[in-house]
Symmetry: C2
Subunit: 339 residues, 2 copies
């Protein structure tokens, strides 16, 4: 491999160059017993019971940004989709689509970062695929990860939203909008030097602790594309209850708020990559908060709202200045290629 | 949806347009109980025992070609990777990366074709993701599918290649090179009007019948990128035995051979998407052949070679004119973006 400075079409051919890339890069960094078999499909040991499966494509631009890169994002994003569904993320597959000419060092940096995030999330990358397309036919690199995990028995109804009822508290584990604004600040066309880092992180460890210490989570979703506001709208849609959010309790960093004002964004709709929205029974809310605040990714957790019997199917935001407005689902794209 | 002729950036935003695309297209065509839940992760029922997992990215150019399209390919390719590993393909995830401006009708045609192939393979598409990138940042559409399936107990050692031994027969289920030449003939720059159709097909049904009627398969691999020649080289690498192939027995259609000669390709290395190479014990070879030939995808199956104690780690091709040559793994890419 060392003779190549850039990725060539042949690295996606399935021939000798592909094999070299697999051995010298993927096997080296992702190394684990299952991947080492290098078979067409990885063989996994799963206990009996439900298995959760998810997939996400990552096309973030730029591929490196403050607080992370496309590789870290691709691991954390899929780990989080499993964790918020009530599963314990276990095994991930990785599929790369690479533009011919991508510097080998850039790919290596991404792969290292994936390996580090996999280690910190406690998951294994067990199988993968690499395609290389000619220059100009993709944008540097796109990564799709899929993941499977054992579903917690107590969480089989979690994702349906049917456990939510009036009186439940809505919790977010920290500042919103960091990821979106970190990526925006890294885009070349903007001459913004705000010190905002992406919150990109695998939240499965933190969520595990909430299950163990407090249990009784009624619903979870990670607030990625579309941000906190979109998740709220998704939760409330077609329900017989409503949501009250309290603007003054929603944590937004000063730098993020400033950049949003400058660019005309509403932090409610800006993407996060390390934020989970939890809906929990009011009796366990304090215990959940206590558990979250002890974890590095939940230190700034807050209760931002509650489920109410009024205004069914609607999210009301009670503003800092004493007014209220309806939070609606955005139609289109605020920030293309944010993840 | 009907108001949009083309895919917009907003269709990948996670907002209202995304939801509309999911409902009006993906849910409509892929409809099944699990997908309808529309949760972050799909919940699957799997029996106890080993589970096989695989992933592949599809970047074929052009996206429509004689005998198939990128959608059919994305389903069959992942189904086959599971089946050749000894698993029963059950659930697939689908991740789309779409170029802004792709005609909605093209996407719908692809989605329909995926739904049809899923039905004919007997698998369910249970979860997915869609990202849209700005015009010029990808090439129409890329699809990554991942799949899981229950591993057959009798196949736990299959993928390792450790069951292969001298005397075993090598079987292929029909004509080689069809897919590669069908895609080439569809490329605009070539003014070739050969009537070659891709062999793209899900082989799990045929392979199931071999397990049931003959059992005792020692190894399988689908001969995709890199073709039959590459698979042979992969099988033999670092082994204490060799492979003899008999050129006169390897089935190549006249049109494919002609087009290969014209373009300077060796059919041995041209991609297939519906061909499996089986290595089986000599005592069951006839039973395997009989079973294959009764199946629509195995009608032209032949024994093309055998495992021999000589020339360890090497593949020898005994040519039609009585000579012999070593089959080597190709270094680079014969045909970029063939799958």
């Amino acid at each position: 491999m060392t003779q190549f400075k850039n990725i060539l079409l042949g690295h996606g051919s399935g021939g000798r160059l592909s094999h070299e890339l697999i051995t010298s890069l993927f096997i080296k960094h992702f190394s684990n017993k299952i991947l080492l078999q290098q078979t067409d499909a990885a063989l996994l040991d799963m206990a009996s019971g439900k298995i959760a499966m998810t997939t996400d494509a990552f096309v973030v631009d730029p591929i490196f940004f403050p607080g992370g890169d496309i590789g870290k994002l691709a691991i954390a994003g899929t780990v989080n989709d499993l964790a918020v569904s009530g599963a314990s993320p276990a095994y991930l597959s990785v599929s790369f689509i690479i533009e011919e000419g991508l510097p080998f060092l850039a790919l290596e940096k991404i792969v290292r970062s994936m390996a580090e995030e996999a280690l910190s999330a406690g998951i294994h990358i067990v199988t993968g695929d690499t395609k290389v397309v000619d220059r100009g036919k993709c944008d540097k690199i796109f990564i799709t990860t899929s993941g499977v995990g054992q579903q917690r028995k107590e969480a089989n109804q979690l994702a349906t939203g049917k456990l939510i009822s009036p009186g439940d508290k809505i919790i977010v584990n920290g500042f919103i909008g960091d990821h979106g604004m970190a990526v925006m600040s890294a885009r070349n066309q903007l001459n913004i030097k705000a010190k905002i880092e992406s919150d990109c992180a695998s939240l499965n460890g933190m969520i595990d602790q909430v299950w163990e210490n407090a249990g009784n989570i009624h619903f979870m979703r990670d607030a990625t594309r579309g941000g906190l506001g979109t998740v709220m709208c998704e939760i409330v849609a077609d329900k017989s209850w409503g949501i009250n959010l309290f603007e003054q309790d929603i944590p937004v960093r000063t730098e993020v708020r400033g950049m949003c004002e400058l660019l005309g964004f509403d932090p409610l709709y800006v993407a996060n990559e390390g934020k989970v929205v939890m809906v929990v029974g009011s009796v366990v809310a304090d215990k959940v908060m206590e558990t979250l605040r002890k974890h590095e990714f939940g230190r700034n957790a807050v209760i931002i709202g509650e489920i109410v019997p009024q205004h069914a199917g609607k999210v009301w935001l009670h503003t800092s200045i004493g007014g209220k407005r309806i939070v609606d689902m955005p139609a289109g794209e605020q920030l293309p290629r944010i993840c």
